[in-house]
Amino acid sequence: MHMSPLQKYFFSRVWWYLGTLLVAICLNFILPRLGPSNPVDTIMAHIKTPGLDPKIAHKMEERLRIRFNIDKPLHVQLGMYVYHTIKGFVTLDMDEAFGDSYMHNKPVWAYIGPALPWTLGLQIPTLVIGYILGNILGALAAYKRGIFDKLFYPMSLFFTSVPYFCVAIFLVYIFGISLEWFPAMNAYGESLSPSWSITYVSDVLYHYTLPFMAMFLVYVGGQAIGMRSMSIYELGTDYVKYAKMLGSSEGQIVRYVFRNAMLPQLTGLALALGMMVGGALLIEIVFSYPGVGSLFYTSIKENDYPVLQAGALIVTICVLIANFIVDILIGILDPRIRVAQEGENA
């Protein structure tokens, strides 16, 4: 079959990410079992109360043992787990994919499903806006230098080095508690119930301000620092010197530099996504924002192990998808990658 270089690149990435997904699913099974106790013991320890009839407890344990296939060899357990997860994803049956939470006798998806939109709604806009603005500011700093850069650089450095949750804490304390400009907690007022009414939406946006700012500041800082040094590098390249010698305008040069420095920035983004998303989950805890991050927090507190595991998988999958999108963007924007694919063909 004849494929264009871009298609080839696309498919090679698809395979890579599918492979990574499989590894992630396996890790998701293996990692929780590294410890001394198995999931059934963990759950039982939580359920057993002094008043519980030992017979009922025993019966419950039996059922859990069957559910978790705990008596089968580990590789069979792994196989079953991978099978159910993938089958669930393919048939879009999330209850099959993630199973039930035994703490509350509800399917895990009942927790993850409602939490995910809040997390995505927080992460995606901050990431996109932060990325774009950060790059513009970074390029400006590299190009203008001078006073602007002298002020801007340490500030960006500050925001990129401060942990997300610390920024969140400072913002909550200053703007939420002391000044009372913005609500410090939750995603919407307690008296409201979710609907598409203007009151509700504007209340959500009002609550959105501080968590958004906390993440946004860090993203912008990080992107700006990276873009600044990439642009400085690009400004010293031969093609920029040549363009200047041919009388290219400043604006022209800035456009070249911006475009070409964006590419390594995108690669950097792909590499950093895992770190960034992990850090940003903590923001939700500070704001009691009802997303996956807060879900982690409560499920750890309640020792609700299936929810934790499912949350870990869903976050990993989201990061993999984001990574994949960035990779494909790079392939589209950078002619060098297409040519490299063609070279492999020759």
Partner: protein, 281 residues
Amino acid sequence: MRQFTLLFKNPSFLISFVVFFGLVLVGLLFPIFVHGSPVDRLGCPFEAPTAHFLLGTNEEGQDMFVRLLFGLRSSLYVGLFAGTIATVLGVVIGLIGGYKGGLLDNVLTMLTNLFIVIPSLVVLILISNSLGPKGRSLEVVSIIIGATCWAWTARAVRAQAQSLKMRDHVNLAKLNGYGTTSIILMQILPYTLSYVFMAFIIQMATGILEEAAISMMGLGPYDSVTLGFILNNAQKAEALVNGDWWSFIPAAVLVTLLQYSLFVMNTSMETIFNPRLRKEE
């Protein structure tokens, strides 16, 4: 070397260096000056700062100032420990993959990319949770942090090793009859040292950060007060909403200060060591 004298002439490096090592000294030497226990109930819950309790007390009436000092010390300890593990792992994996090439390199690169793409915090949460509260000593937490955060260093060191192995001084060492281990240690490693040193600083910062992060989640070490643990307590006791600033702001400031000073040290070193950026002036 000349580069190091240049480094100490760089004001931002100097300031961050002084701040960081100042904090290290405080973390090391405070028991000489401050006596007190981080866990004993010494006062009433949520006492505001006074001359007696410099930073007030928390929900259990523990002295926040003493807790903060202990927290600083254990956070630094995690940073150093986890940073060392991550750096050593990253350098070893990167050097071997980059120098050896072939199948081994393919496997190591794949592993590295996996660790980069999969969010390390998620992995940390799963492992820490499975260890159970009794399994998480400060050392164990440091080790698992180190074992999950090496990939960035490995990636960069691998790239360097790969280009260095083409250099003629490596060929010359081969012609002198030296083996792989000796060549990696004597001919490749020294050239990556300035990078490795910078990576170590970042890894220390990562170690401190990741510990604070999982402690915030409630999965921190059981045997020590860390800065993350203080924040977690404040969170649980809803100190934030109640405006008891002394039970969380100082800890957050300390984490920030540690991170910022390490980052500034790293970037100012980069401008000195990295000739690409040096051209800028």
